[in-house]
């Protein structure tokens, strides 16, 4: 059974159709790239899946139940976690504090004015796990706002992981990063998928990354589903080449 299924999902903003009758399904354990030119509807797709706003038409189901009208909070509890196109972390706090508050919230402790030694130890152990997975150990005591963009992105993913996601949505995780940072992020994404088995959707403009790590690729263009398939299929698809890889990728590379 597919983990995530979208059935003819449409989203309108006034007269604008940001998504037009999109149907797609994502399997458990899959690493799926979403590509498409600016304004194609990629972020809108994430907003719908994460419950930020509802679809105008169509339905979305997750792990076998319909989630079309479920609140973002409830979706988070069911395991749909996202990051944002603009990094969302707690800038004035250290990396450690960022992860700690995330873990405490994930454990439902956020209204507790006191926690015992055992609970504290559980929180700390979980934070250490996140530090380990994201390999941010050298920077735990740095103020997040003073980190490089790439490291802030890693912290954001660490925060997202605190909820033990079943489905992780990453909106342009490598945007604005240098080569070294991009490689680190790509490794992290692959590791989370292969080693930790997290199903992931990620929006990405860098075709080398997309073709390098994605199991399958969904191509959106102007709100419509242009193509879907493996890297080889997408690379060979003439419509994709014409509409996207041809000019958009060329323009971006220039």
């Amino acid at each position: 059974m597919s983990l995530l299924v979208l059935d003819s999902v449409t989203r309108r903003f006034g007269a604008l159709q940001a998504l037009k009758g999109i149907s797609l399904s994502v399997e458990e354990g899959e690493l799926r790239a979403i590509i498409g030119p600016n304004g194609a509807g990629k972020t809108t797709l994430f907003n719908l899946i994460s419950g930020y706003f509802p679809p105008s038409q169509g339905s979305i189901s997750f792990a076998g139940s319909v989630i079309t009208a479920v609140s973002p909070n409830a979706l988070v509890r069911r395991g749909i976690i996202r990051t944002f196109q603009i990094t969302q972390i707690f800038l004035a706090l250290t990396v450690y504090e960022n992860l700690r508050v995330a873990v405490e919230c994930a454990m439902g402790l956020q209204l507790r004015p006191y926690i015992g030694r055992a609970t504290r130890a559980r929180v700390e152990a979980r934070v250490d796990e996140l530090i380990e997975v994201t390999r941010i150990g050298a920077k735990v005591d740095r103020i997040a706002g003073e980190l490089s963009h790439g490291d802030q992105r890693v912290v954001e993913i660490g925060i997202a992981l605190s909820r033990a996601p079943r489905l992780l949505l990453l909106d342009e995780p490598t945007a604005g990063m240098g080569d070294e940072e991009t490689r680190h992020m790509t490794d992290l994404i692959r590791r989370l998928n292969r080693t930790n088995g997290i199903t992931m959707l990620f929006v990405e403009h860098d075709m080398a990354i997309v073709f390098g790590i994605a199991d399958r690729i969904t191509v959106l263009d102007n709100g419509a589903l242009l193509a879907e398939g493996s890297a080889a299929e997408i690379a060979a698809n003439p419509r994709v080449q014409a509409a996207y890889l041809g000019d958009a990728a060329g323009a971006r590379a220039a």
């Binding site: 988070v76 996202r82 969302q88 800038l91 504090e97 405490e104 994930a106 909820r163």
Partner: protein, 329 residues
């Protein structure tokens, strides 16, 4: 582990900075404990120190909401005022018991904050401030209009600091005795605030201030966090109000007014909203300056305004933020 202040403190010299901080805290406690011994020597008087503790308590309570949670309340005088009237009316109409009257005032202020909380917690920024002012002014008008109970514009008199009953002994509280009662409660409040700030609840407050969107997408009902912060600060400010009414054996509608709310905010900003001791230090400066300046000039209010403007210009993180920055450099 460290205190919550870690987030805004320097990262590399953390360990040594904490050592220094603990020494500073120890010094503050020692100075406060010995106030009746040294304050008269520099021309102060014990009731002034008591007043500073009371306002420092109020500012610290407000700062839980203001500095830690990021909710700019311009209406916390409401809970202070309720604390004063709750205590005064309890002494007049219920029983002349000091502990019960303090509890009554604290509960009145705190419960009002619990009830007002849900009506303000969804607002952000300036709307939050406006609605907190509105509630503050509402209580002010009730106090003015409900003449029969509150004494109206003239304020409430006819109650006084009755002796404490400890076992079978009855202890009258003079200036020094009352100072130590307030000091004990102040210490308790500081302990509670310190504990909250190092707990998940306090971490959640700071997270709500830093990035509510992020927090919400972690599945947290951010409003509840703000409500909790609002309510706790209301109880603390209510307690401060209660103690203030017993210091002067009087209260008036001025204790509800937005001017007083603004003074609490000024104290927090002056001392440093991101520091544990900041609001208290702000109260020391504010009440100290008020006491001194009002004895030398009629225009003390404008001088305090000037001090405020200068400090915001030169120490945007408050005095403690400034000191900590220097210590780091």
């Amino acid at each position: 582990m460290s205190t919550m202040i870690r987030g805004v403190a320097a990262s590399p010299p953390r360990r040594s900075a904490i050592g220094r901080r603990e020494i500073a805290s120890g010094l503050i406690w020692l100075l406060l404990l010995l106030v009746p011994l040294w304050l008269p020597a520099i021309g102060g008087y014990t009731d002034l120190a008591t007043r500073i503790l009371i306002y420092g308590m109020a500012a610290t309570g407000l700062n839980l909401l203001l500095g830690q949670t990021g909710g700019l309340s311009f209406g916390h005088a409401a809970y202070f005022g309720l604390g004063t009237y709750g205590t005064g009316l309890f002494l007049i109409h219920v029983v002349p018991s000091l502990p019960l009257a303090i509890i009554a005032g604290t509960l009145l202020g705190g419960i009002a904050a619990v009830l007002v909380g849900p009506m303000v917690m969804k607002r952000r920024g300036i709307y939050f401030s406006m609605i907190t002012i509105a509630f503050g002014q509402m209580f002010y008008f009730v106090a003015v209009r409900w003449n029969g109970l509150t004494g109206g514009e003239d304020g409430l008199t006819g109650f006084s600091r009755v002796p404490l009953h400890i076992g079978s002994r009855s202890v009258a509280l003079g200036s020094t005795g009352y100072y130590y009662l307030v000091f004990g409660l102040f210490a308790l409040v500081m302990l509670v605030v310190w504990q909250i700030l190092r707990s998940p609840l306090g971490h959640g407050f700071v997270a709500a201030r830093e990035n509510a969107t992020r927090l919400r997408f972690l599945g947290v009902a951010v409003e509840r966090q703000i409500w909790a912060s609002f309510a706790i600060s209301g109880f603390i400010v209510g307690l401060a109000g209660s103690l203030d009414s017993l210091l002067v054996n009087f209260t008036s509608p001025a204790n509800f007014q937005w001017q007083l709310s603004g003074e609490f905010v000024v104290m927090c900003v002056l001392g440093g909203m991101r520091s544990f001791w900041g609001p208290f230090l702000g109260a020391v400066i504010f009440i100290g300056a008020q006491d001194y300046l009002s004895s030398v000039t009629q225009n003390w209010m404008s001088l305090i305004g000037l001090i405020f403007v200068l400090s915001v210009l030169f120490f945007p993180n408050g005095l403690l933020g400034f000191i900590r920055g220097r210590a780091r450099a």
